[in-house]
Every structure is written in structure tokens, then in C-alpha cells.
């Protein structure tokens, strides 16, 4: 920035001199005019006008007007502005030349932010994707993470819970790299490591660092990739005030086709002749779904004087979910100030505040038997008997008449309280000082805090879950603070044809996490919610914890380019972390990369068609802090124990120490090729990567259980991800009135466990607890993470002798399920007859965007899709089980007279996991279609506005998929909840997800 300002100053001085000369010599032809930008027609202040072949030039003023002297009519004027395609115009006889510059969609000249610095896009040697503000604003976003979905190859973005208002978003870059640790990337906002994402409208750009050469500078936190977010800054000059308003209506894209009351009664009577049908007719889906809405309003103002720039914004967001009683509300503030204090010193500050308030309904329940598997309104509205009313004749909320006793979903959704309030504050101060020519010192000091309170209340009117215990309430508070200080020197020098940049720095970060929880039962009144735990007769066990972790690091980077042809990048970071075990406190992560701009070689100069050709290659090590605080230490833990009717202090040895526990290390190779054709009308990037993650941390299952103590964590596994990414951008048509651009990204990733502990399988369970099954998926050497594990379904057993190679469960009869009999003993048993029955990892994913502009109109069409990737439909496991309502598919159940069917006879049966419930999860989705219109300048000029933009759009308008469930973007984590290990290894399970929504949006953007 410093350098740019200085350059600008030099330019001004030289321009002034030229002007003086020009005036002194001879007043020739004068050309005046206005430079504006396409497509919105806004004036461009500060655009350059140069007489071609001379050094004579001019700059536009605040309103885009210019004036320049030329020799004669043969002179050619070159109009240019950063980010726009330059235009050349021969003067001829014109004295007024108005020019509209087209935005430059060739991004080679863009500045790309990298860790602790920035480089020109054309100088990037690693794998870095950028998402700019323009793409962020293509359609209304619920959050910034969502903007990355389908936008960058190799980046998979998914809501943790469908369309739930306020649901957290998971981002995965280039696959899973861990079992136990998080696979989410590191988020860095304006240099603050581990920050919360700001609002999408406040973001100037997001960079996704994907390979080791880009991420190794973040050392032990770089393995999952890094998302660098830069927020908007003010610009010197006129004050800009901007108002953005969006309103969306939402509805569920889909409903399940369930039995109605009559069909249900018939079905249940077949199962249980004594079934007494209820006399109501209730469509629980109708009762619980509603039309949702989102309103999002943003107000910002920015500007600056010569020395001080500022940007300030506030945002109000409110979403009413498509399930009754689910809401999310958010208020956030952002402020950026930058001050050039002296020629050499620059100070700045970045402030962020956010309050998120989520009023939810329980969904995606862990289905713990302790909750009767019955507090998840989504799965309950499918399960619940349609012949029951909400309340019986005595005004008591009904409980299910079949299967486990569970409360009806309407009562749960309307009467229980499930509230999360989350406050985030962050302040980051920096000082940047030019010590010598080319040598800069920057120091930042920041603090962030998150305060989260979670309250849960179930009134005694919930007949099953809370009635017998007189209501229950719990409140939990979680507070995390993080202190960060970073200090680094940057040195830049030209050496002959070469350009050298050196970086060296030191960083320290300390994070504290404090948690406490309390609860009570047996309330005198249902009016307390969770705000009067003392009003409960029965207190529940309180708990609290405190965790502190520190990380201190040294880092450095060397960038060298020779003659704008050969590029070299080398980085290293040394991380010391308190979480690391006693004998392994420090880790070093080096990386190196080379780039060759072939197109800049002399022999390429004659090949007109190829405007850009660059090879990139990188190799390096990055880490994953898979070790939680204190996890390498031996631990005693508390346990609940009762003596003489009283709860007493009790401890037991829980886990052994491992002083040699290390971080997980990814050895990453990336080879890339960038091609620009036809003056960069077509630009293509190809990347191949191979990520070998070693020292995977696994709890050693090979330790006998008779030790009576949990085995310590060990570094024993190895996992490999390799993949291929394509990014293709084309400028199909580009003229003054009409532009059409296309972005396509496509990626494929292959994941494989190379080694697991002693080659042993690790069998995992993602089913709801009340299913009472232990196995749904498996980690196995040579296989991808989380492949499904169960019986292979062979259709319906027709009775008589078993078909070759098949078997039935003990006690099964004609009409029951037939499975592959792996051990050939004719009986299906859990130990011998299970196999891998599906793979949730997608084959490839893609995003496909077309942007059109015509005069003041613009159109964005964005498709996104996944090919391959199986889904385990646990919803159907429940719905075909006989102890709940069912989809109308059961009307085609096997009977002695209806034998040609795939659906077994109606029967109460165990919830066996089999390939019967594995489905293909491929889909193509019209993620967005948006039309925008910028009001013409002459109209809005009259009402004193700078620009007015109106847009209408629709999201998730249609989805093409064979998946029979509600939506192929599934994310159920089962009894493990949403912990890291579960979300890494548990993929592709569908049960009780909040539905994905379809929305229609109207937006207005005003700029003053």
C-alpha cells in the first residue's frame, strides 16, 4: 500500500510536469470527455488516459471527467483503470470522447492475499482460489461460508443441518485429512487467525489457500487449507453510503409421501391385529412446516481523507425457518480504520461485533435412548401416528401409539425451548512502519471473544420426555477468548532482473475456553423456562471446565522472481504448542514452490493465441493440531457415584499418558498449469495434488480392554488424498452492451486409508441411539473414509429353500429380508455377514456459473452438483421398521399374493443396516438464478443517488436426483453429535435433517 501511494505521488508530479510542458509549447487539439464503467455506468475517478507512444497523459477527476491535449487527429488515446480492460480510441475529428470501460474478467493482474502478504495473481506459485465481492453479491447469502459453495474447485461446503436457521457450516478443502482432528480449514480474517467469519456484504475478497506452499506459513494449522478473508476498506475521496435490503420467502423443497390415517390403521392392524386405530387425521408434516422468510438489511458508510480511511457497517438478519418455531436473528457491526500517521507509519484498527440468536427446535437428535429417541421433530413428524390428534380429549399431548413412547412433534416444537445466544467480539490493531527503503515492520495485536449460552427447557406438558419428571431445564455457557500478537519484517529488493521479497516473523496466540452447565427438574411451574433453575425440586449434576492453550511460532518466506519468468517461493514455520506432548513441543513445517511463466519466454512471443502459460509445482509439509489440550497427559476423571443415597466424590484412572504424542503431518504435492488463450478470453487452471497425511492420531484399539484404562492417543495412521481440479473461465462475449462469462470448476478427490493401527478395522456407529445397533460404517485400510458397513440386501425371501449364497436372519420367514450369506452358514449374523455396502465419498463435484449483462441488466445462473457419493437413508430404516408411520411404499409390501416386490412383509423388525437403505446421492441443483437491474444514471442522478440496483432471485429452484429422501445434501452425525471425529468419519447419513429450502428473493441496493 505504502509503495502504491508513493508511486501515485510520483505519477502526479510527472503528469503535472507534462501538463506544464504541454501548455508552454503549443496549444493543439483538446479532447474532453467522461470515463465511466460498464455495466452500471458509474463515473470512474482516477482513470488514466495516455496518448499512445508518448508519455503524455491525464487522469479523470471525481466525476470521471478528463481533458487532454493531442497533436492531431491521428493520436490514439489509451484509457485504462485497474480492474478494467484498457481501450484504445483514435481521436480523429472528435473533441468529446466518452468512454465506457469494461470490467476486466481476466484476473491475472489481481492482487491475491496470501498469508502475511499479497502477490500478483500471475506470480502465485501455489494453489490459491479467490472469491471476490462481486461473486459474493451475486445472490443473497445467509452467511459468508455459503459463498464458497461451488465457487472454487476442491472446496466442499455444507450446512451442518440443511436449511436450519443459524446452522453452522462445514467447509472441507481437498477432502478429509484426519480422523480425530477437525477437517475444517483455518479462517483468517484481516490477519486474525482463527476468527469468526464477517457478514458477506462486508467482505472484499476471500482467498482459499489449498496447497502446502500457500498454507505451510500457517504451520500446524495449515493442513486443512486456509481461508483468508479481507474485509472492505474505505477509499479516500467521497463518502459512500450504501444500503442493502433483501427479503426472501422460503419453503420446503420436498415432503415425504406418508401413509394417511386410514392407510396407517390398515398397515398397523396387519402388524398387530389388536391395534386400536385413533380417530384423528393429522398430517404432521403440514402442521410443522410453514412458509419461512429471511430479511437481511445492511447499512454501511465509508470514505476517507488523504490520511485516514474508514469503513463502517451494520447488518440485521432475521430468518424464520420453514419448521415452526425455528428462528435465527443476527446483528453485526464491522469497522475498519486505517491512518497514514507519517510517511513511514501507518496505523489501523479492525472491530467486529456480532450477536446471533437462535431459537431452534430439536432436530438431528442423537436419538439417545435416554431421550426415548424422541425429541427430534423432523424424524418424529415422519414417525408419528397420523391417526392421533395433537392433544387427547383431556388436553394431554399425545404420545406415539406405536413404537417407543415419544412425544408428538408438534408439542415438542411449540412447547420446548431450545435457544442459543452467541456473541462474538474482535478487535485487531496494527502498526506498519517503513524502517528503510524496502524494509517494513508490521505488528498486530488482537483479541477476540466468543460467549455462547445454550438453554434448553422441556415443560411438564411434554407427556413423555418431561411429564413424569415435572419439566426439565438446563443452561450451559461457553466462553472462549483468544489473544493474538504477530510481528513481522518484510524486505523487498530488486536484484538485476530479479525481485526478492523476504518475510520473517514471530507470532503468539493464547486461547482460553471456559464452560459451565447446570440443570434441574421437577419445576413448580412451566413458566420459568431455564431462567429459574432454583425453582426445580431436583437439581442435576452441575459441571464446569477450563482449558488453556498456547501457540508460539516463528515463520519466514522467500519469494524470488527472475525476469518475470521464473518464480521461487520457500516458506517455513516453526510452531510450539502447549497442546503438544512433553517430548514433542516444537514442529517445523517447510515448503517450496517453483513457477515458470512459459508465455513470457521469447520463443512464445509469436504465438498469439496463447496469452498466458504457467507451470507451477510445490511440495511441503503442513500440520494438524489433532491433539486437544491435555490429551497427552495421564488423567484421572470424575465419575458419578452414590453411597448411602448421596452423591459422593469419586475418581478413576481414565487414560494413560503419551509424552511422545505428535501433531499430524500432511506431505503435500501440487502440480498446476495455468493457460490463458485468445488474450485471456479463455483461462484454464489445472491442479493435481497428492496429500499424504501421516502420524494420524488414533486411540489405540489394539490395547486390550482388560487394562481397564483407556489407551492413550498414538500417532499410527496414514491417509492419502489425491485429486484433480479444473477451473475454467471464459469471456464468451464482451462488448459495450452485452457480456457473457462462464465459470466452471470441477474437482475429484480420492481418499484412502493407507495404514490404520495394525491393519485393524475401526467400526463406527452413526445411527440414532435408540436404534440399538452398533455398526453403520467402517474405517479400513485401502478403503475411503467412512464407507458403509452392513448386510447386502438380496430382496424378499419367497420361502422355501434359500437361493444360493443367501441367508435370512434367525426366525425370519417368507416375506422377510434376504441377505448375502458371506460365511455360507445359511444364517445371517452380525459378526460374519457384513460387508462394505456403500461409499459416501463423491466421485466428483462441480460448480457452473454463467453471468450475462445486457446494458443495465445482469443475470446469474449457478448450477452446482455432485456425482457419486452414497447416502445411508436412516430415515427409511426407521420408516420401514413397522413401529412407526411409513412411506406409501409399504403399500407394496410383500404378501403371499403380492410376491413380486422389493419391500418385505409388514412386520416389526430390528433396524438392520443393509444395502437396502443405501442410495445414490448424486445431484445437480440450480443453486441460484438471479436477475439484477441497475437504474440508469440519468434517472437516479435526479433523485440524488449514485446507484440503485434491484434484483430478484431464486435459490434451489430445482434439484435433479434419484435420492428418495428429502434432500441429497445430508449431514446426520448420530450419537456422536457434531464432534470433529464424527463429522470427519461420518458422512452421508440422513436422519432428521432440517430440510433444505427453496427461496425466492427480492433485493435492493442503494448507494449515495
Amino acid at each position: 500500500m505504502q509503495k502504491q501511494l508513493r508511486k501515485a505521488k510520483v505519477k502526479w508530479i510527472s503528469l503535472s510536469i507534462f501538463f506544464l510542458f504541454g501548455l508552454a509549447l503549443n496549444a493543439q487539439q483538446t479532447v474532453t470527455g467522461k470515463v465511466s464503467s460498464s455495466p452500471n455506468g458509474l463515473p470512474l475517478p482516477g482513470a488514466n488516459i495516455l496518448v499512445k507512444g508518448t508519455t503524455q497523459g491525464a487522469t479523470t477527476d471525481f466525476d470521471g471527467n478528463y481533458s487532454i491535449e493531442v497533436e492531431d487527429g491521428t493520436a490514439v488515446l489509451v484509457f485504462s483503470y485497474i480492474g478494467f480492460v484498457p481501450q484504445e480510441i483514435t481521436v480523429g475529428s472528435q473533441s468529446v470522447i466518452n468512454v465506457t470501460l469494461l470490467e476486466d474478467t481476466n484476473q491475472l493482474n489481481e492482487i491475491v492475499v496470501v498469508g502475511y502478504g499479497s502477490v500478483k495473481k500471475s506470480d502465485v506459485t501455489g494453489a490459491v482460489s479467490s472469491v471476490k465481492a462481486k461473486e459474493l453479491n451475486a445472490f443473497p447469502l445467509l452467511n459468508a461460508e455459503q459463498a464458497l459453495q461451488g465457487r472454487a474447485a476442491g472446496v466442499v461446503v455444507q450446512s451442518n443441518n440443511g436449511g436450519e436457521p443459524g446452522a453452522p457450516i462445514n467447509i472441507k478443502i481437498r477432502g478429509n485429512t484426519s480422523i480425530n482432528a477437525s477437517s475444517n480449514p483455518l479462517i483468517v480474517v484481516d490477519g486474525f487467525v482463527g476468527a469468526t467469519m464477517p457478514q458477506p456484504n462486508d467482505i472484499a475478497s476471500m482467498e482459499i489457500l489449498k496447497d502446502a506452499s500457500a498454507t505451510a506459513i500457517y504451520g500446524s494449522r495449515g493442513s486443512n487449507g486456509v481461508v483468508l478473508v479481507t474485509t472492505k476498506k474505505g477509499r479516500s475521496g467521497k463518502l459512500t453510503v450504501e444500503v442493502n435490503s433483501n427479503y426472501s420467502t422460503q419453503n420446503t423443497a420436498n415432503e415425504l409421501d406418508l401413509l394417511n390415517a386410514d392407510q396407517f390403521a390398515t398397515y398397523q392392524t396387519a402388524l398387530n391385529p389388536g391395534y386400536a386405530p385413533g380417530n384423528a387425521e393429522t398430517d404432521w408434516q403440514d402442521l410443522l412446516y410453514r412458509g419461512g422468510s429471511v430479511s437481511n438489511h445492511q447499512f454501511s458508510f465509508s470514505g476517507g481523507s488523504e490520511n485516514v480511511n474508514f469503513y463502517a457497517s451494520t447488518n440485521y438478519f432475521k430468518q424464520e425457518g420453514v419448521v415452526i418455531n425455528s428462528e435465527f436473528e443476527r446483528i453485526s457491526f464491522l469497522g475498519n480504520v486505517d491512518a497514514q500517521v507519517t510517511d513511514k507509519l501507518k496505523l489501523g484498527m479492525n472491530l467486529f461485533a456480532n450477536r446471533g440468536s437462535q431459537d431452534g427446535v430439536p432436530t438431528q437428535s442423537t436419538g439417545e435412548t435416554a431421550n426415548g429417541g424422541g425429541d427430534d421433530v423432523i424424524s418424529l413428524m415422519f414417525r408419528f401416528a397420523p391417526d392421533l390428534p395433537i392433544q387427547d380429549e383431556n388436553g394431554i399431548n399425545t404420545i406415539n401409539s406405536v413404537g417407543d413412547n415419544v412425544d408428538n412433534p408438534y408439542a415438542i416444537a411449540t412447547e420446548s425451548v431450545n435457544q442459543t445466544k452467541r456473541d462474538d467480539y474482535r478487535a485487531n490493531l496494527y502498526a506498519s512502519y517503513d524502517i528503510l527503503e524496502g524494509l517494513n515492520f508490521k505488528t498486530t495485536f488482537g483479541y477476540s471473544t466468543r460467549n455462547e449460552t445454550f438453554g434448553l427447557f422441556r415443560p411438564s406438558t411434554l407427556t413423555e420426555t418431561a411429564g413424569p419428571i415435572g419439566g426439565s431445564a438446563a443452561i450451559e455457557n461457553f466462553k472462549r477468548t483468544s489473544l493474538l500478537s504477530e510481528n513481522y519484517l518484510t524486505y523487498n529488493r530488486e536484484i538485476g532482473k530479479g525481485n526478492l521479497t523476504l518475510l520473517a516473523g514471530y507470532s503468539y496466540q493464547k486461547t482460553n475456553t471456559q464452560r459451565f452447565a447446570a440443570g434441574a427438574q421437577g419445576f413448580t411451574s412451566d413458566s420459568f423456562s431455564f431462567n429459574n433453575l432454583g425453582g426445580g425440586a431436583v437439581p442435576l449434576l452441575p459441571s464446569s471446565s477450563f482449558v488453556e492453550s498456547e501457540i508460539q511460532s516463528q515463520f519466514g518466506r522467500l519469494n524470488f522472481d527472475w525476469d518475470d519468468k521464473y518464480l521461487l517461493t520457500a516458506t517455513v514455520r516453526r510452531d510450539g504448542a502447549s497442546n503438544f506432548a512433553a517430548n514433542e513441543k516444537y514442529a517445523i513445517f517447510p515448503s517450496g514452490a517453483i513457477g515458470w511463466k512459459v508465455s513470457n519466454e521469447d520463443f512464445m512471443q509469436n504465438i498469439e493465441e496463447i496469452s498466458n502459460l504457467k507451470f507451477r509445482a510445490s511440495y511441503g509439509l503442513t500440520g494438524n493440531q489433532a491433539i486437544g489440550a491435555y490429551e497427552s497427559l495421564a488423567q484421572f476423571n470424575n465419575i458419578y457415584a452414590v453411597l448411602n443415597g448421596q452423591t459422593v466424590n469419586a475418581v478413576f484412572p481414565e487414560v494413560a499418558a503419551n509424552p511422545n504424542l505428535k501433531w499430524e503431518t500432511s506431505y503435500q504435492t501440487n502440480i498446476g498449469l495455468d493457460v490463458g488463450l485468445l488474450n485471456n478470453k479463455v483461462s484454464l487452471s489445472l491442479d493435481y495434488y497428492n496429500i499424504d497425511t501421516r502420524d494420524l492420531i488414533i486411540r489405540e484399539t489394539s490395547q486390550p480392554e482388560y487394562f481397564g484404562i483407556l489407551p492413550s492417543l498414538k500417532n499410527v495412521g496414514e491417509m492419502n488424498n489425491k485429486g484433480f481440479e479444473i477451473n475454467l473461465n471464459t469471456r464468451n462475449i464482451s462488448n459495450e452492451n452485452f457480456t457473457w462469462t462462464t465459470d466452471l470448476n470441477w474437482s475429484t478427490n480420492k481418499n484412502e486409508f493407507v495404514t490404520l493401527l495394525d491393519g485393524e478395522d475401526i467400526i463406527l456407529d452413526a445411527s440414532p441411539g435408540y436404534f440399538n445397533i452398533d455398526e453403520t460404517h467402517i474405517l479400513r485400510e485401502g478403503e475411503a473414509v467412512g464407507v458403509f458397513w452392513g448386510y447386502e440386501y438380496q430382496g424378499v425371501y419367497q420361502g422355501g429353500s434359500l437361493p444360493e449364497g443367501t441367508g435370512i436372519l434367525p426366525g425370519a420367514e417368507a416375506g422377510d429380508q434376504l441377505f448375502t450369506d458371506l460365511d455360507g452358514d445359511g444364517v445371517i449374523s452380525p459378526g460374519d455377514d457384513k460387508k462394505i455396502i456403500g461409499d459416501p465419498n463423491p466421485g466428483w463435484t462441480f460448480g457452473f456459473t454463467n453471468n450475462f449483462t445486457y446494458k443495465n441488466f445482469d443475470l446469474n445462473i449457478f448450477f452446482q452438483g455432485v456425482q457419486g457419493g452414497d447416502i445411508m437413508n436412516l430415515t427409511n430404516v426407521q420408516l420401514f421398521n413397522g413401529d412407526s408411520n411409513a412411506t406409501t411404499d409399504v403399500l407394496n409390501s410383500w404378501t403371499p399374493s403380492n410376491t413380486n416386490t422389493d419391500i418385505p412383509r409388514a412386520k416389526l423388525r430390528g433396524k438392520e443396516i443393509s444395502s437396502r437403505f443405501v442410495e445414490d446421492g448424486s445431484y445437480i441443483r440450480l443453486k441460484n438464478i438471479a436477475i439484477g437491474y441497475n437504474l440508469p444514471q440519468d434517472v437516479i442522478g435526479k433523485i440524488g443517488l449514485e446507484s440503485v440496483r434491484i434484483s430478484v432471485s431464486a435459490q434451489n429452484l430445482f434439484t435433479i436426483t434419484d435420492y428418495s429422501g428429502l434432500d441429497p445434501e445430508v449431514s446426520y452425525f448420530g450419537t456422536g453429535g457434531q464432534g470433529n471425529s464424527e463429522s470427519n468419519t461420518t458422512q452421508g447419513f440422513d436422519f432428521g435433517n432440517y430440510p433444505t429450502v427453496r427461496s425466492f428473493n427480492f433485493g435492493v441496493n442503494l448507494r449515495f
Binding site: 482449558v547 475418581v651 487394562f707 481397564g708 485393524e760
Partner: protein, 509 residues
Amino acid sequence: MKTYKILLLLIGVSIMGCSDLEEEPSGLLAPEGFFNSVADIQTAVNGAYGHMTTEDFWGRKMSLPLMLRSDMVSIGDPTTSTRRIEHEEFNVPTDNGMISGYWQRVYQVIAAANQAIAGSALVGAPDEQKNPVVAQAYFVRAFAYFHLVRQFGAIPYLDEPVTDADAAGSISKTSAADVYTNIISDLEFAKTWLPNTQAARSIPAKSAAHSYLALVYLTTGDYQSAYNEAKGVIDNEGTYNLGLEADFQDLFDATTIDGSLEPIFALDFNGFSDGDTGRDYQAALTGLRNDEQYDLGGGWSVAVPSLEVYNTWDGRDYRKAVSLDTTGVFNGVTQPYTVFKESGASGRGVNRPHIAKYTRNTGITATGNGRGSQQNYSMIRYAEVLLIAAEALNEVSPGSTEAEGYLNRVRARARNSNGVTSGLFPADISGLSQSDFRDMVLEERKWELAFEFKRWYDIARRRIGPQVFGASGLEGAKPGFSEDQDYLYPLPADELARNPNLMPNNPGY
């Protein structure tokens, strides 16, 4: 100059973070430095009690198979999980989920006891002060291994915390005989050092060690020693503050059992829990599905006696009425057991009388279906000691009136219904042959200790499987039962894989 001041200030602030990166957890306990006082030893022993009152142990995984493998309780709800049905039908695979869930937990009980014993060496107090507490750990260890040896026979045996993982990870099984020797030695230590009485029956006193010695000897068939130990308890009835509860029903009343003299060692639940720790589950497992009579939201009808239990149990026996519920309440209407299934909307009920011992007076239940009650579970109670004495004495000197006296004392209490002696059933017995007396004691144990998790062990130690699981048995013929295999459980297959030196598995598996 001003610039430099600002800069220096910032650098000063920045550099402040320099750390040695040592972890100093607060709120977590490290083993080092934990054991300082006798109270710390007690806290460590309490850890073992805590493990015993988890779902993995007493709640379901350990207790439910004991019920289902007996001839008195079978599966009610047919849709219950396979891993339970496998025990009921003696079709237990080596990866049975009940066993693998329980296996780790029982060894956590043992590891907690071993840790308490090892930790006590670090406490400076004299033996007279610390051994009465350490003795609880010895008792707990014996108690846990006694379950294991009866279920699995030869097992991996550890009596100290693991310090050398390689050595401990390659041990062979210890023979059942050696395990019994160790159990007896632990119980002897406990008997020596435990005080005569404790504040509650959930804390083992000398009486607990003494009584368990009797039960261990009875199990190994050392009837002389069994008699000696049982006699020792009976002789110390006053010293140990023991007695029979006047009204049999009161033994199963969670609100009054704390004051009873009859339990000798009990697992204590207080209606609260931390997740599955502290939950007994028995009211839910044995309770009648959709039943409204106890305000529990109904049970799950999982463990339900076979109909023959009801039919063969003499209706004049007061204990039958205490032990079984023959009616349930559905939609406010009392219904007989013959229509339980039809009356409950779920269709998963079963038309048999249900166990009432754990549902009728649960005290506080913090969770639905009675998953967590306030019940205390007697691991051994005084009536059983009397029955052990009777059984053992009959083996070593048949025909004694002393043995008859012990048996008749238990029968006399059974006649005492609602605190009033009414009726003459079961009448005192006398003059039986040794064989008839033996049968009579076993029969008495069946009804007196019905559904108290004792019956399977009786079947196994007396080797009466072929008889009770034959066609004339209470549950009808159980073809899955094999005498050569099913008196023992299989060791978990994955454990054998982790330490192949534990192979082979038990015969038949």
C-alpha cells in the same frame, strides 16, 4: 520521536507472549500427587462403585444377560435388540454386544480398585487407619472377578495398575481355580480389615466380605468352608447388625430400603445420574409397556418372566404377589395380563405377568420409563446367607435340624404378608432326605431371590441346564442350550485379537 514511542509500545505489547508451553490443567486431576490422605483412597474406591452403577454394568449390559439366561425370565418385546435375544436363546456369538459392552467396564471397576490399592502405598497413614478403607478396594476387586470367573471361567487377571503395557498386553489367561484363590485372598484381607458395620450397605463392611466368602465357597463346591463362613455371619448377626426384613415387600421399596438390616452389600442408586452413569434401567427393562399404574410412562417389556413362572408359583406364596404384577392400567382401565398386548397401543407388550420388584416403589425417577430409579440392589442379603448355610450344611452333614432352621427362617418371613403373619404358606419343612433338601433349598432360592440376578449362577454352579432348559422347563425346551458350551460366555473375539495369548476361546465358541 512520537512515532517511535508508539512503535515501541506496540512492540512491547506484542512480545509479551513468551511461554514455556507447559500445560497446567486446572479442573483436571493428574494421577501424580493425588494420593495424600485416607480420604483420597476412599475417593478412588468410590470410582469403582461409580463404574458398577453404569449402564454397562448393573444398568443393562451385565445384569440383563443374567436375567435372560436363567429359566425364569425371557424376552418380552420381540423387536428388542438381537444382542439380548442371543443370550435368551443361547446363541451368543463371540462379538455379542452385551458382553463387549460390559467387558471393558468390569475391568474399569478392577482398574479403579487396583489404582486405589496401589495409591494407598503412597499415603503415609498407618495401616490401622488406611487398611479399613483399602479393604473396600480388595472387596470390590474380588466382587468384580467373582462375576467374571463365573461368566467366563479363565480370564486375564491383573492385580495392579498397568505400568508395562507390553507385558500386560501379552499375558495369558489365569485359570478359574487361580482366580478363585485370588478372590478368596482378597476377601480374607477385606474380612480382616473392614469394620463390622458401615454407614450404609452400599459400603462393604466385614459382613459383606464374610458373606461373599460363603457364596464363593458355595460356588466352588467347598461346602464345609461355605458353611463355616455363612455360620460365621449368622453367629455375628448382632455384631454385623443384620436381620430379615419383616415384610418381604419392603425389600423392594426404594424409599425405605436404606434403613433395612437385611441387605449386606448393595449397589445404591439415588434417582440421579450423569448420562448413563447412575442409571439402573431395571424398572424400564422389566416394566410393562404402556402401563400407567406407576406413573413411569410404562416400561419396555424387555425382560418378562415366562408364563410357567407364574403358573408354577404357588398362589399362596406372598412373595409371588410381591414379585409379579398381573395387571396393568391402560387408558385409565385396569387390565389383566391376558390382554396386555392388545391394551397397549404400541403392540409391543406381551401377555404375561411382569416383574414388579423394581417398578412398584422406585422412589425418585429422574428419567422416563424408570430408567433411573432410587432403588438399591442387594448383591447379597441376609436371607441368602441363611440359604447358603442351609445348602452347605446339608452337603456336609445331611439331616440336621440346624439346616432346616435356616431354611425355615426364610420361609417364616415369607408368610409374613404386609407385616402380619397370615396364612400357612410356605410351611416349615422337616425331615427331608439330603437330596430332597438340596432340591428344596434350590427351589427356595428360586422364589425368594426371584429376578435378583442369582438364578443363572445357581443353574450354572449346580449344572442343572439340561433339566431346566428341557421341555418341562419353565420356558419350555431351549434347543440352543448346550451343556458343553453355555455355562460360560465367550470371551470377546476382539479382545482375543488384541492379545492372542488369551486364546483359545471357551469351548464351543
